[in-house]
Amino acid sequence: MTAQRVLSIEDKLYRDRFKVDEEPHLWIKDPKMCVKCPFNFVCIRVCPTDVYKWEEDKITITYDACVECGACQIACYDIGWKHPKGGFGISYKYG
């Protein structure tokens, strides 16, 4: 495997270690707002791990791929964000 081959986000996240909590630590505060998103879906655009997707008529959140950077909650105030419960979420081997 060489670095020249462009890896997908899924391929990249496969290298990371997660312990997934059953309870999401990300949520949309008011889903109605997303339908007429005033920020041109900034959550989808800034997330480095493709957590947010627009599916049919709403934003879906794959919270188990979240590396807890916090970019989305800065970009959009409609995103609810907290740290995963202790020990859950991303666990870096290098960092």
């Binding site: 990371d16 655009r45 590396v67 970019a71 800065i74 740290h83 202790g86 290098y94």
Partner: protein, 426 residues
Amino acid sequence: MAEKFDSVVVGAGPAGIAAAYTMAKAGLNVLVVEKGEKPGAKNVFGGIIFKHHTEQIAPEFWKTAPIERRVVEYQYWFLSKESHVLVSHRNQRFNDQYNAFTVHRAKFDPWFAKLAEDAGATIINRTTADDVIKENGKIVGVKTERGEISADVVIAADGVNSMLARQAGLREELDPDAVVLTVKEVVALPKQRIEERFNLGPDEGVAALLVGWGPGMHAGFLYTNRDTLSIGIGVSMRDLDKSGQRPNALLEQFKSHPSIAPLIRDAELKEYSAHLIPEGGYDHVARVYMDGMLVVGDAAMLVNAINWEGTNLALTSGIIAGETAIEAKRKGDFSSRTLAKYRQRLEQSFVLRDLRKYRNVPSFFSTHPHFFTLYPELANELAYMWHVVDDETKDERIKRMKSTLFKRRSKLGLVSDAFHLWRLFS
């Protein structure tokens, strides 16, 4: 957890551990709460730690700490689409008197946290403290999923996304202009390959900063570790939003640059990470104290984006916070009257003096992005013209170079840029 502590420190990064170590060594009863499965599990940086400030806690730490390489060369790359101009400083003195070391935080931070433990602090991992306990406007502890913890002083060392500073009302929501999103990869290469590629001896390392070729205030970094490289890009949240590009796409674009790709050829991806850096500078520094609480490190937005310093500001703020807490304990007064000393001492130290000096720099560059786009491009264009050999006389060549330069930036513009730079840094 009915016991009351002199201090509860939230976050076992460099700032939190420096505070915990300082207080525990003076005999205070200290609890450190870390949300990761171990210290460092959630921590990401470029990056390098600095000898001078790390030694304040751990003299000669490089003899026992899990460090990767000592930095002997600093490189500054100015990129254009398919070229670069490289300015570099290598010095034998960095081999004789160390200056900085590359580390992996998930390996270094547990080692560093152990020092606080050995000094008498208690560290509990896998525990998220996401709120403060307030009584009559005074912070008296923190709330965790394991229950409430009482302490005379809470030290918020919970990083750039600090919940505690926000819950305590010490910090506003982050301004997209003041925060940089970094995406980073750790890629593996055999030790010898790294040393050949970067012209290094055993244990020697390079720290490289790369600017140009990207949306606005966009920068890349590359650090050599023992048998891995840390490579990534940082872009302000505002510029990222405006660019319409995805963070991972920007990173891939950077990695595929013809000057960068050979450096990481055949390297195997080990880890992909992302993190925010609070680069807003002095005017974005949080309120760092209140009755019963101090804020340190990234949580207080203490990062010097100009010199690429962070861990040293974190360590120093942690030490000063710890010392302030010791004094508060001695006086039996944990009100803001005593804790205000922390801010005063930060103002007197290099931490806030440096940030104050650079106060106008972040906003200047965000309103003058051509320093990061036009100038690297011009440097490459002029360098190229200078080196092409053909029948053109040097007289014509130099005339053509001047006209290229002035076409892109007027004489007045150049003088004004030079003047602004001078003013900004003097």
